[in-house]
Amino acid sequence: MMLEVAGLDAFYGQNQALYDVGFGVDEGQVRTLLGANGAGKTTILRAICGMVRVAGDIRFDGKRIAGWATEDVVRLGVAHVPEGRGTFLRLSVEENLQLGAMTRKGRREIAADIERVYVSFPRLKERRAQQAGTLSGGEQQMLAVGRALMLRPRLLLLDEPSFGLAPLIVEELFAILRQINAETGVAMLIVEQNAVLALELAEHAYLLETGRVVMDAPSAVVGADESVRRSYLGY
């Protein structure tokens, strides 16, 4: 496994948010973390990136990265599209993309990658010189994904990519994510409220309840589970 998490506890001050969480993502895989609000999905992504206090084991390529500084985890090739998208609102669209490649060298390759992002998201090209804060929600989400891809990541962490977007835009975004995974082989770990879409995209799912993994199974199995369907899929 490229990313391996075992016995992970996480804390916000005195409050424990994760209990003995274990899961993994391998090279090129797409996996999803499902669960209700407050189940700890976002905390797991933040834990991987060194943004919360943790105990337990997080390994990337076998290296123990629990407690590492965020900047160092990024340098391993872990790109995180955070909750709220983390856009640099005052900077231009193109500057946002350039920032995504901040840890890389090679001016020409970076410029070529920016063009590649524009091919995936043509709307961004139209707005390349615009302040990112003036983009619509959907465009900002695409910019956030584009910025993450600029790292040439091996693992992409996506926190609620569908949040606040119109259904059509969400469909479009997920189609592009699927395509990116197929073309570049970047592994993805997706936190989603929209379980139907997430289960379509991911081959494997983990279900979280109050900070614990309560189900660990292929997406088809999770999607067919009676209680999951009733609680998270709504049919």
Partner: protein, 292 residues
């Protein structure tokens, strides 16, 4: 009319001082989101270092370059040693740290170099420019250096990756970390650059106001006024604001009865209050436009 022109030109000359200071103020503000109340004292201390080097016999430009370098390193150290430990402390604790820095620098300068005023040389001379009496060579040099600094900063922030990283770190530290930027070092770099700009400002101002430990207190207030007027988020705005403050100050002193020399400083404070009341982002400051 001639009086007006003369006062505008004299205002521009003073304005260059404020513009330089305002530039340093904006640098720090961009890096740490606070005004640095010790900015003026840092500049004053740097100027004393330059004065000392010149007194030891170093040529002016060597002393100038060394002072800028020393100030940059000192700025980085001040951030690492003094402000990094309190970066998550409440705002009042941070302000206390600024005040501490202010008094430490002010009193040590007095202790080392005493409080008598000293002459500080200018590389530009004090000859009248274009044969007129409107502006002398030092004042013209000061304006030139300020504009050159502004140009360099613009190139740095718009044209280099490091400049972009610094802007990103200031605007959104958490996201900056997520793209791999070492935010703490960007802040330290901001301090270093502000200290270096302040050193340049101090060395340009000293030939006009004379060198002594309290030389910067008034100047810093004008610098704040210039930065607030132009916009705390805009280096170019700060420079223009600085020049404007210089001109406004001079014109008001000449044409409004009772203002005279004594109330000029009050005017700077009134300007700060008025700008903050009616246009908090300043003339050129960028307001964040966002759709939600």
């Amino acid at each position: 009319m001639e009086l007006l022109l003369q006062q505008v030109m004299a205002g521009l000359a003073n304005g260059a001082i404020y513009a330089c200071m305002a530039l340093a103020v904006v640098m720090i503000y961009q890096a740490i989101d606070h005004l640095n109340f010790a900015q003026g004292e840092m500049a004053m201390f740097s100027t004393f270092i330059a004065w000392q080097m010149i007194a030891w016999g170093l040529p002016y430009w060597v002393a100038f370059a060394l002072t800028v370098l020393v100030s940059f390193v000192a700025g980085v150290l001040i951030d690492r040693v003094l402000f990094r430990p309190v970066q998550n402390a409440p705002i009042l604790s941070q302000i206390v740290a600024f005040i501490a820095l202010f008094s430490i620098l002010n009193s040590s300068a007095g202790q080392i170099w005493d409080f008598t005023i000293k002459n500080f040389p200018t590389p530009f001379g004090h000859k009248p420019l274009f044969g007129g009496t409107l502006i002398d060579t030092h004042e013209a040099g000061m304006i030139g250096v300020t504009l050159a600094l502004l140009g360099l900063l613009y190139l740095f922030f718009r044209g280099t990756r490091l400049g972009l990283a610094m802007r990103a770190a200031a605007a959104n530290p958490e996201s900056a970390r997520l793209v791999g930027i070492r935010v703490g070092w960007m802040t330290a770099l901001g301090w270093g650059m502000a200290a270096a700009i302040g050193a340049v400002a101090g060395m340009l101002i000293a030939p006009v106001v004379f060198l002594e430990p309290n030389m910067m207190i008034g100047v810093l207030l004008y610098g704040f006024a210039g930065a607030v007027l132009g916009g705390l988020t805009s280096p170019a705005g700060a420079v223009i604001g600085g020049f404007l403050v210089g001109i406004i100050e001079n014109l008001a002193g000449t044409f409004i009865p009772y203002v005279g020399r004594e109330l000029k400083l009050t005017l700077a404070l009134i300007l700060i209050v008025v700008v903050l009341m009616f246009r908090p982002s300043g003339i050129f400051g960028r307001r964040v436009v966002s759709r939600v």
